[in-house]
């Protein structure tokens, strides 16, 4: 209940910030229009490539981006945490521990990526889209992402992650069949099992199939299948993954 309330508050904050941004954009647009009208500048038609935004700033056309830095050195961070602890500098101890945790999570994410199959239902892995993300919150935001695809717009995306905040809500779906069966006459959302693990599968015309398997206490695997022929093909794809291996690596029971 507490988690839900806090999640709700965080969502509210995010949505209020989103609302304020929209409001600000609208006001900027309206003010620019009025200024242009007074200065006799004709309004933009909206088509064609404009080199500048409504505020007159040039648009960014590209850049080198940010280079990938190495994940934190776990051993060095642990040593720094101990040194800071001896010096009673607790704020620095916390920082070093967070860095060490992040380093461990990224290594673990890479291990899990390595264990995933190179090809799934004739789709090939696109390693350029591999993502391992850790957000210093200690496990709750570890996300591992991989994509397999072919040239015919068929794609499978897997996300392995830990959803500490949502785990309680997700557990409701996994344990309350009545709630799911009540979703209208056409069933596009149901419970299934993948290698003995409880799962839910969902279909939407705009998104394709989504299969979510709950592993252990708080971890989840999500498969997003675009342009798959049917439910059976999704299940075949999911069954090629070593779920128990992932579970073990994440330390889930």
């Amino acid at each position: 209940m507490l988690c839900f309330l806090i999640a709700l508050m965080v969502t509210n904050t995010a949505s209020s910030q989103g609302f304020l941004k929209k409001l600000k954009d609208k006001v900027n647009k309206a003010v620019s229009k009025e200024v242009d009208k007074k200065a006799g500048i004709p309004p933009e038609t909206g088509s064609g490539n404009s080199n500048s935004g409504s505020s007159g700033n040039p648009s960014n056309k590209g850049g080198g981006g940010l280079s990938n830095t190495a994940p934190p050195d776990v051993k060095a961070q642990m040593a720094e945490a101990e040194t800071a602890h001896a010096a009673k500098n607790y704020s620095d101890v916390r920082y070093s521990l967070q860095q060490a945790l992040m380093g461990v999570e990224i290594q673990l994410g890479r291990q899990i990526l390595k264990s995933l199959p190179a090809s799934v239902v004739a789709l090939n892995v696109d390693t350029l889209q591999d993502i391992v993300m850790s957000t210093q919150w200690g496990w709750s935001n570890l996300n591992i992402h991989r994509v397999w695809k072919n040239n015919a717009d068929k794609q499978l995306t897997i996300t392995v992650g830990n959803a500490g905040i949502y785990a309680g809500l997700a557990a409701l779906y996994f344990s309350n069949a009545g709630m799911i069966e009540a979703n209208g006459a056409k069933q596009n959302f149901k419970q299934v099992r993948v290698k003995g693990n409880k799962a839910i599968i969902q279909y939407e015309d705009s998104k394709g199939y989504t299969l979510i398997v709950s592993i252990g206490q708080t971890s989840m695997i999500v498969w997003e299948c675009i342009n798959f022929a049917n439910e059976q093909e999704v299940m075949t794809a999911a069954n090629t993954f070593d779920i128990d291996g992932i579970k073990k690596m994440l330390g889930e029971q």
Partner: protein, 199 residues
């Protein structure tokens, strides 16, 4: 005074235990990492983090004033809890004298801070959410939100002060007082020192 001395002794005793736990957790983390057991390393590091949060909480308790105006510490209500992975530590202290009570709660890495900061720094939003019972004030240079609440009787009011400090949120509540009084009491809380510890 006796209660205060007991409190200091208890804190000192617990701090020693906590320091040992930290060392133990770090030793486990190093051994597990050396053996390539990443999940065990992760768990041990989390344990160490939890210990650090507890130490920080106890250090913050030491910084809080031994008296709040005429009110004395209620030693048994001193509390530090660590909530790893979500919010950091939750620190709590109460004061009481003659039926009047004051409470200080500090949540480090609080998700509520973003919300309070939005209200404090957005005059439009602050205005919309203002029901005549809240106002923005400054305590030792930090922006804060002061809220008037119903007191024990019709002619009395309680006040609550929320002070965001980086990622932490300090909530200070005093029963049956005036807005001037709560702001005077808040001046005795060493905010800058607390901020340095918990950030």
């Amino acid at each position: 005074m006796k209660a205060f001395i007991t409190l200091i002794v208890v804190i000192a005793f617990i701090s020693t235990g906590v320091a040992q736990d930290f060392t133990k957790a770090m030793a486990t983390a190093k051994t597990a990492y050396g053996a390539g057991k990443l999940e065990q390393t992760h768990f041990a590091l989390q344990q160490a983090m939890q210990e650090v949060d507890l130490i920080i909480g106890k250090e913050v308790l030491k910084l809080l004033p031994p008296k709040m105006d005429a009110m004395d510490i209620i030693a048994k209500e001193d509390n530090v809890a660590s909530n790893i992975g979500y919010v950091g530590a939750t620190i709590h202290r109460s004061y009481e004298k003659g039926g009047r009570k004051a409470d200080i709660s500090i949540i480090s890495n609080s998700p509520l801070v973003a919300m309070t900061n939005t209200v404090l720094n957005t005059p439009l939003l602050g205005g919309m959410m203002n029901d005549g019972k809240t106002k923005t004030v400054k305590v030792q240079g930090y922006k804060a939100r002061l809220e008037k609440q119903a007191g024990s009787t019709n002619d009395k009011n309680d006040y609550e002060l929320q002070i965001p400090l980086g990622g932490a949120l300090i909530t200070f509540k005093v029963d049956d007082c005036t807005d001037t009084q709560i702001l005077e009491f808040a001046e005795t809380i060493p905010l800058q020192k607390i901020a340095k510890l918990i950030q």
